[in-house]
Point group: D2
Amino acid sequence: MTKVLEQLAEEYDNKTPQEIIEYAFKNYKNIAISFSGAEDVVLIDMAKRIRKSFAVFILDTGRLHSETYQFVDRVREFYGIDVNVYSPDTGELEKFVREKGFFSFYKDGHTGCCNVRKVEPLRRALAGLDAWITGQRRDQSPNTRAFVPVVQIDPTFGNGKLIKFNPLSKWTSAQVWQYIRVNNVPYNRLHERGFVSIGCEPCTRAVLPGQHEREGRWWWEDAMKKECGLHAGNVKG
Amino acid sequence: MTKVLEQLAEEYDNKTPQEIIEYAFKNYKNIAISFSGAEDVVLIDMAKRIRKSFAVFILDTGRLHSETYQFVDRVREFYGIDVNVYSPDTGELEKFVREKGFFSFYKDGHTGCCNVRKVEPLRRALAGLDAWITGQRRDQSPNTRAFVPVVQIDPTFGNGKLIKFNPLSKWTSAQVWQYIRVNNVPYNRLHERGFVSIGCEPCTRAVLPGQHEREGRWWWEDAMKKECGLHAGNVKG
Amino acid sequence: MTKVLEQLAEEYDNKTPQEIIEYAFKNYKNIAISFSGAEDVVLIDMAKRIRKSFAVFILDTGRLHSETYQFVDRVREFYGIDVNVYSPDTGELEKFVREKGFFSFYKDGHTGCCNVRKVEPLRRALAGLDAWITGQRRDQSPNTRAFVPVVQIDPTFGNGKLIKFNPLSKWTSAQVWQYIRVNNVPYNRLHERGFVSIGCEPCTRAVLPGQHEREGRWWWEDAMKKECGLHAGNVKG
Amino acid sequence: MTKVLEQLAEEYDNKTPQEIIEYAFKNYKNIAISFSGAEDVVLIDMAKRIRKSFAVFILDTGRLHSETYQFVDRVREFYGIDVNVYSPDTGELEKFVREKGFFSFYKDGHTGCCNVRKVEPLRRALAGLDAWITGQRRDQSPNTRAFVPVVQIDPTFGNGKLIKFNPLSKWTSAQVWQYIRVNNVPYNRLHERGFVSIGCEPCTRAVLPGQHEREGRWWWEDAMKKECGLHAGNVKG
């Protein structure tokens, strides 16, 4: 299957995000858009112009900004769509926090916390899907995302049977924001306070003018390894 | 047992909070302090002067202020104690949020959300305990808390077999804050921004000078019914 | 004149603030209300129910909170009144700031800065007046305001010829806030963020629950001396 | 003189900002750097590496952010320099605010307020100078600043006898911020909250990711005319 996907990736490399989403919807029935509560809302806006109804899920880590919770509900109402919310496993979460507290990531690194709050729920979100659509872009990270193709076999989840579409892969942040402005797409109010990339509250911060958006995430760690486990397969060995 | 408890409540009605905690620790082995992340931290401060080690639990609804999460970790370190964290049941939470979204309480009232995020986890926290200690005070609510005794059979949980101590029952807010200042007890930084009572982020707000603290909770609802279910037994029929 | 005033103060000691304002308006033509941008807005609300038109002034130190500037304009529109604004003398201000910078008060004490930004403009505001009305209250300060009479010869300004009315002298903060709520008086939004007393931005802060409002002013200085020079005459030798 | 200046502008068009500042200091004795409290702090950093002592002035409109006042004092201490502060004329300011209130610019446009709070003080700041140095850049405004030369006869002030150096004219925002990061230059904390361009508090706001910095200034007005009068001569007829 890998070869077919590589051919498809090459063929769709210069297609618009909308064409990629259209292809994805047409060829995969059990497919869902992964929404982070940030500027990947454009995927939902594009999808809504193609189809009336489609699956969207979000991972509620229990540590999102209140502005992000507000934004998710606004997106729900604005587009008239359901959003499947996945939460951490009660037992794993309680065990983790009792041992580590609420801010262990500043000392131990974010992997342990992301595993409990993001990766495990994502695993459940992806179970039963044939394909998913993400908002990943190459310009988001010079190291971990520079080679993200528009479509690929998921390198991390699904045992080689899950297809992952990244329709915005080749768009820049500037293009995404132009789309948001031109189309009056609703956006997370944190973007009005210097936030570019948005994740969990304690692990996201505003960036300075001209600073790369990824510097607003897990800023206390080595810039090379800033993936939360969801897209860990991006990192080349 | 009710009668014995009523006699005890009468006998201890004029005792200090410290004496009540001391009695509770002496007579109940399976006992824990319920900590909300607000000014009930004084219970922990008092307990620490009586015993080196004791059980404390907190309900992490997944919607607390980031300042509250920071405060819980600070309390943990400051007093060198473990804090057992109870989180909502994954399945119930996911089902609730998918159907209702993240802010249904503003329309439906807070009961449904509190049931999932607070009452169910509390039930698990109390299972196996003979007694618990809360920071409830009579002056917190003219309606729902005016008759809170210093000790009682829990009117809501434990099927008549769980003892509930409310050592601060007869203290005023002013007394609690005097204790905090005099003893240099750490406090939640939200108290520096006009917050008196502190609960979940979307359901708590700062109050005006001279305004009753309970007006900062579920302010869109009838002032008469402001209990989250944890202490529902307080409300007289 | 002192004796007459003392008799008047005694006679009006138990009158309502409204009666005191009414007396002041009736007996003094060149009279103005001094408005600080805080809860002394009740003076304006009371005056408006007595007279259609009256003089109000405010001292714009150049360092007020943006919320205070917004509030002053809102009061202007809400009551349909003019507000005379007095600003620091350009030359004195420039000289002071060039030498001392913008935050010298944290090191030197607030007197020097208050002299330039408040006292000198107040002197101009009071020139030509026979009487002024302030929002001072006894409960604002256990030391400097405990003896504020409802009317007095101004002990600081006017060379013994200026009358000073303090209609709220005997009201508590609780009474002022009850008046604001009952009468839907507009208030400074800072009061929603823990601020009770409000002055200049760098010299005012929110207070903790139960903390005296004066602890939110010049908190780095001795609690005994917290007057800005406007009401310095209150301080007994 | 114009011709000489045009030749000089051409000659220095490809010089570094540092070379331009060095030239300016060498050839003009009565010269000062105009500092706005924003990223033009790089001018001060560059100047300090050239000379131990030089003149800097700032216009304190009385409506700057508290973060800007803090930043000015920090710059003063960090570089060990004096900063001459120019404030609005008392009489003009009082007259303007009594008539118009504190927020007339949202209705009338910003020109009237800028005239009182910025242009008049600037006129005094420039009196007696032969030359001044500003942080203007071409990329700050596609309309009003696209032709800013590195040196020019001031087109607005000084009656054709004042020289204006714009050493950063050809630098981009990205270059300025790289300089700040590489050289650990102190910066205004507002830049950590989405602010790029910084002026008066009511007339400045944070911008969205990818949004032009000038959209954060006087955003309620026509994008074409966003100059405060200080650099009005930039606008071509």
